[in-house]
């Protein structure tokens, strides 16, 4: 088990390294740099050269990459040109915001999706199961971009929820947490509901499959009530295929939260990276991409552990 975790950690380090290096080099290769993007085309040649020298943008790509790498080993990820602050200071706050959004959405999706999946998967007929199925098909056709637009629309019309941002300026102290939760509802639902639909469909399919197996028939024949079989005996084997999807969901979660962050003005990693890409803020782009890769690595590791919990065969 320890060897397994170590191996996964090594792969994760490699992933983070590859992703941040690639994004640094790609951003440097892009036409235009931070200087042209921020000074515009009318700046004098001397002013541009001075600025390039100050930020080290006049060095060759190879030289800049070497410098960045040497510093990164000491956990110094360079300076954001746009914010004039170290990347190391900028990212944690934004990354935490994205993590709050993603984890809440995943929790929401699990809590809503799995039980409803067991319910609709264990009943062939019935109004409730049909309703759940229909709701899932509708939500599957509403990716986070559309759910967030729809929810913001509802919020703007009804005034039930704030339509953007993460906190109200006026609220401090004990009310702050409540305020955060209030702001979190729309973005978390926007990311979480399509995921819930996906989990519901998977869980329903898995439950139906397991119920068809001989051991369920045998248990029923011994007189165990149907609902008890569904919710206890069939539950664990039915969770296996669903648990194996969680590893793929992490990427989905990050992609989905990007659209939602932009639309609901949630100050997360996606929004930071978008701004950095637009301004050709090379080190910040590399930092954001690397952080995203860290999320990804943790997510897949976490999902492997969950899979190991419900499926002994996966522990090998």
């Amino acid at each position: 088990m320890i060897a397994y975790v170590v191996r996964r950690a090594l792969v994760a380090v490699l992933l983070v390294f590859a992703v941040s290096s690639a994004s640094l080099v790609l951003t440097r290769l892009a036409p235009g740099d931070f200087v042209t993007e921020s000074l515009g085309t009318h700046a004098s040649r001397e002013a541009m050269e001075r600025m390039r020298e100050r930020y080290g943008l006049n060095k060759s790509i190879a030289q800049q990459y070497r410098d960045w790498l040497a510093a990164a080993v000491r956990l110094d990820f360079g300076y954001s040109l746009q914010y004039d602050r170290p990347v190391r200071e900028l990212i944690p706050e934004r990354a935490a915001n994205t993590a709050i959004l993603a984890v809440t959405a995943l929790g929401l999706a699990t809590v809503i999706g799995l039980p409803l999946g067991v319910l609709s998967g264990s009943r062939r007929s019935g109004a409730l199961a049909a309703l759940v199925r229909a709701a899932s098909v509708v939500l599957l056709s509403m990716p986070p971009l559309l759910t967030s637009l729809f929810l913001v629309f509802v919020a703007a019309r009804t005034g039930w929820f704030p339509i953007g941002g993460m906190s109200s300026a006026a609220v401090t102290g004990g009310g702050a947490l409540l305020d955060l939760v209030h702001h979190l509802v729309v973005p978390a639902a926007a990311v979480g509901l399509p995921l819930a639909a996906m989990l519901e469909r998977l869980q329903a399919q898995a439950t139906t499959d397991v119920i068809g197996e001989p051991f369920v028939l045998a248990t029923l024949a011994r007189g165990v009530p149907y609902s008890r079989v569904v919710w206890r005996d069939a539950l664990k084997p039915a969770l296996r295929p669903v648990a194996s999807v969680y590893g793929l969901i992490v990427g989905t979660l990050l992609s989905g939260s990007f659209a939602v962050e932009v639309i609901t003005a949630w100050p997360g990693l996606g929004k930071l990276m978008l701004d950095a890409l637009r301004a050709r803020d090379v080190f910040l782009v590399a930092g954001c991409a690397g952080t995203g890769a860290i999320f990804l690595a943790f997510g897949t590791l976490f999902s492997d552990l969950i899979l190991g919990l419900v499926d002994p065969r996966a522990r090998e």
Partner: protein, 328 residues
């Protein structure tokens, strides 16, 4: 129930396809025609009865600006403008296009007809998604086919690579690849560029499945026989093995198309998609990205509804229970 919903899905997709083909006839005007006196004007609803209760052929009341600052409009009930059917190469228009235009879905912030832009935008958005899905299919078939046929190290390397691309959040990859190129490009270049980027991001999902199918088909008698008869690897792969992945491909494409529709919308929404005045569903949503659109001009959000309907139609048509929708 299942058969019914499937029929509904097929109907939706057929209507969407028909709209794409008939766009120039359906749209009352080109995408960049502006009505400077009617910014953010609401839809004109066709009436058949006037205020006195008399019946007429379908007609509209023109909008008059009631409050320029708030962009509030009122119907001018004194003038009836009849609709003109099948004239000038358009299915239906107002008989007085310059002063009282027929606006099925109102106008946007620049005074452009939302319905016309939506219909022409369908060509761009759906065309791009389809082109990208076909691209994914070609790349995926190539990579998966070679990996499954060759086996060994080639297989290992190619599959590690696809696993790597698959685990990356597709939206970020597309974003990064798009952003390293000049931010403002002509529309045709953006179309080709996005199609290639999406094709690359979507290809691993196809490559994996193709590889599995090719691997198992390879050992079947007909493949062995073809090989024994001297078929070259390329011929064996293209003539015999890849055709067996048709069913899988068909399903995969219907999963990728919705994902690509949404990906285009997301990129255009954040300003990395098509330039103005090109109409795509994403650029239209970007124009709607302000609070007044949500509160006062809901017709600006019609591309979002169109996107939902098309994706739902595709999902119903193939009875899709999964979603690639959020992969990109």
């Amino acid at each position: 129930m299942r058969a019914n919903s499937r029929t509904v899905g097929i109907a939706i997709v057929s209507v969407a396809a028909a709209i794409v083909f008939a766009a120039p006839a359906l749209a009352p005007r080109p995408i960049d025609a502006r009505f400077p006196g009617a910014l953010n004007a609401p839809p004109t609803v066709p009436h058949v009865r006037d205020d006195d209760g008399a019946w007429h052929a379908p007609f509209i009341y023109p909008w008059t600006l009631a409050n320029r600052l708030e962009q509030r409009y009122e119907q001018d009930r004194s003038v009836r403008v009849p609709l003109a059917w099948f004239e000038n190469g358009h299915v239906v228009q107002s008989s007085d296009e310059t002063r009282a235009p027929l606006l099925w879905l109102g106008t946007d912030t620049y005074g452009r007809d939302v319905f016309s832009r939506l219909v022409f935008g369908a060509r761009v958005s759906l065309g791009l998604a389809l082109a990208a899905a076909l691209g994914s299919m070609i790349i995926g078939a190539l990579v998966g086919g070679v990996a499954g046929y060759a086996g060994g190290i080639t297989d290992d390397v190619l599959m590690r690579l696809t696993d790597f691309v698959m685990v990356l959040p597709g939206m970020y990859v597309a974003l990064a690849l798009r952003a390293v190129l000049p931010l403002v490009l002509p529309a045709e270049v953006v179309f080709a560029l996005l199609a290639v980027i999406f094709a690359v991001v979507g290809a691993p999902f196809i490559a994996r499945g193709v590889r599995a199918i090719v691997r198992s088909e390879r050992t079947l008698d007909y493949a062995v026989a073809a090989e024994a008869l001297g078929a070259s690897p390329a011929r064996l792969l293209i003539r015999h093995l890849l055709p067996s992945t048709r069913g899988f491909m068909a399903v995969e494409i219907t999963l990728l198309v919705p994902a690509f529709i949404v990906a285009e919308a997301t990129l255009s929404y954040v300003g990395l998609g098509f330039p103005d005045p090109t109409a795509s569903w994403g650029t239209m949503l970007r124009d709607a990205s302000n609070i007044r659109a949500f509160a006062d001009f809901p017709w600006l959000l019609s591309p979002a509804v169109a996107m939902f309907v098309v994706v739902l139609g595709l999902n119903l048509a193939v009875q899709n229970q999964r979603a690639h929708g959020t992969i990109l």
